[in-house]
């Protein structure tokens, strides 16, 4: 079978060194002590490396949220019932969810991709959305995954289709002018899937990469860890085969995220990761393309214990640490104003010469 993976170059070039050097040199000409804007300067230099030129503004940021259901949710691994996935997609479209508020506050567009929601009301017609809500893209690969605790969550073809759909969704946004892509997800049960992926890829014990998700109690948490351990023992996954790991224990929205991350990175558009689940997707994606982490920006570090491990493996320092654990792209949206501020520092500040300010004595 020929897949989109055969059609794109998995060798993403490394960050553009001369562009980073140019941004760094410009920052040192601006009316402030060199390096005094700390992490903002780091972001500005990173943006230049990604885009291949100093970046002076973020004009059309977009948040893309992939939503899908998980067969394993029937096993009581979440504090919420599975129907919440579809209900929250409706909430996104109506404009009432946290990510709606945070994307609006950040001046970002919001797109929700139904890549595998079970039992959404309504047909599979064209994209919709309310004025204040998210635009809904219908790209359902399957009505949710199968239960990863009894067999593979997806076939390899389904996993590849999800990656392809995610890539198409992000390329469509980039074609419309998006100059920064923040990624998020919605899927009851998906921290179970993400913990299984991260344990499979890193070899870190399941208990160390598993958290409370939406807020399960102690007995449910212990069941969640035991279920993931048993599933990994059953699936016998090869960490060098990201597609196999994704198919066995992943989710359709995680596949969508993998495709979106790869598609944006190959297009030299900065990708802002949200929390643990988008991080797990990024870790899968690093197995499919070279130099990927250089193209990523970590918005925050969540309270999910596996997230710190993922960020460490990706070599990323998060911008925010606000003890978030919502998902939806909420942390990624919150980081957009800071990333935009970093770009505008490059674009709008006066140099010492322009402002006639004296340099160091």
């Amino acid at each position: 079978m020929t897949t989109w993976l055969d059609r794109i170059d998995p060798d993403i070039p490394p960050a553009d060194g001369p562009a980073k050097a140019a941004a760094s040199a410009h920052l040192d000409q601006l009316t402030k002590p060199p390096g005094s804007l700390g992490g903002l300067e780091t972001i500005a230099i990173r943006l230049a490396g990604i885009r291949g030129r100093p970046v002076t503004d973020i004009e059309r940021p977009v948040v893309i949220v992939f939503a899908a259901d998980h067969g394993v949710a029937a096993r009581g691994v979440s504090a919420y019932p599975p129907e919440v996935t579809a209900q929250m997609v409706a909430n996104f479209v109506a404009g009432g969810a946290a990510i709606n508020v945070l994307a609006r506050a950040a001046g970002a567009g919001l797109v929700v991709v139904d890549i595998g929601v079970a039992g959404t009301a309504g047909d599979q017609g064209p994209a919709t959305g309310s004025a204040s809500g998210a635009r809904l893209v219908r790209a359902r690969v399957a009505p949710g995954t199968r239960d990863l605790s009894v067999g593979p969550a997806m076939t390899r073809d389904e996993a590849l289709a999800a990656i392809g759909a995610g890539r198409e969704a992000v390329l469509s946004q980039i074609a419309e002018g998006a100059d920064l892509v923040a990624v998020g997800e919605m899927g009851i049960g998906n921290t179970t899937s993400a913990s299984a992926i991260v344990a499979a890829l890193t070899g870190v014990p399941v208990a160390a990469v598993t958290g409370r998700g939406t807020g399960v109690d102690d007995p449910a948490f212990e069941r969640k860890v035991a279920l993931i351990e048993a599933a990994l023992a059953m699936h016998r996954l090869d960490p060098r085969d990201p597609i196999g790991v994704l198919a066995a224990v992943g989710g359709l929205e995680i596949g969508g995220l993998v495709g979106a991350i790869l598609g944006a990175a190959a297009s030299r558009i900065p990708v802002v990761l949200d929390g643990f689940i988008t991080g797990a997707a990024a870790l899968l994606a690093t197995g499919l393309a070279s130099n990927l982490p250089d193209r990523l920006i970590a918005a925050h570090r969540s309270v999910e214990p596996g997230h710190a491990i993922v960020l460490d493996r990706l070599g990323l320092t998060p911008i925010l640490e606000l003890d978030l654990r919502l998902g939806e792209g909420s942390g990624a949206a919150l980081a957009i104003p800071i990333i935009r501020a970093a770009a505008r520092i490059c674009g709008e500040m006066a140099t010492f010469e322009q402002a006639a300010v004296s340099g160091p004595a």
Copy 2:
């Protein structure tokens, strides 16, 4: 002498408990797992406690930057020459400084108060400002302080006048509708002054509260520490007398910050602190009014080593940790979009009932 301190009630009431409880209860009705927005929810609850009602937006934030010169700057304690203070005020008015970029990006107004700049070009006429730059308020108490290493930086009357000018400046902004006040400063030499204040108030050794400021080298850093130690030995300050400490080793802009912080807090307007110098001012202000820290929001933790000590004494957790060390209110401005997002979460999200989303299983 009768001062403004005799005319206002220094007993600021504690945070409004019922308003905080109402905000917290509302947050738990919204379509997200309870507490899953972490630090954002903490900010929303804090805003409610300050304003006495749940806060649903930040509509007119303002950044107020106090600028003044320091006699001690002649001693080589800064990497930059003293004339940079006036040059940077001109840069603020022209719109080319970091704080201009960051205030604009945050949708905040920007006011610069010349409370003691030496040798600014131009007269002491009415307030001015360009369309894209800061509004300049002329409230000069003196053309800079005297050298704190040879005698008191100010008289008590000058210190009180600076506090009064700061209070007037902030009350004027609140009268015009400001619903959040972020404070910043500009003054070559003022980390020396702030380190002396914090050492005097806390008893922490000078070397532990002194940093590199704008970026001095090792020999200059050692001179800075020795100079502050010698000055404190000479002045023999009483930590229970904040006005005495401010007069002896403070700065006019630090006095202005004390007044601005007290004025906004007494008006129930949230005060967003920037870095080490605004923190030192807040620490002075806590000696002049009860319950003050409840009214404050710490924007970030800077790389100045004394800042963490100040935040600990104030009992404040910073929103950001971006290794900033610029001042000007830059970190405070960067935090505004996050504070606004916290308010809008309270104001714009749908409840479980409104969105017909199922609660925990």
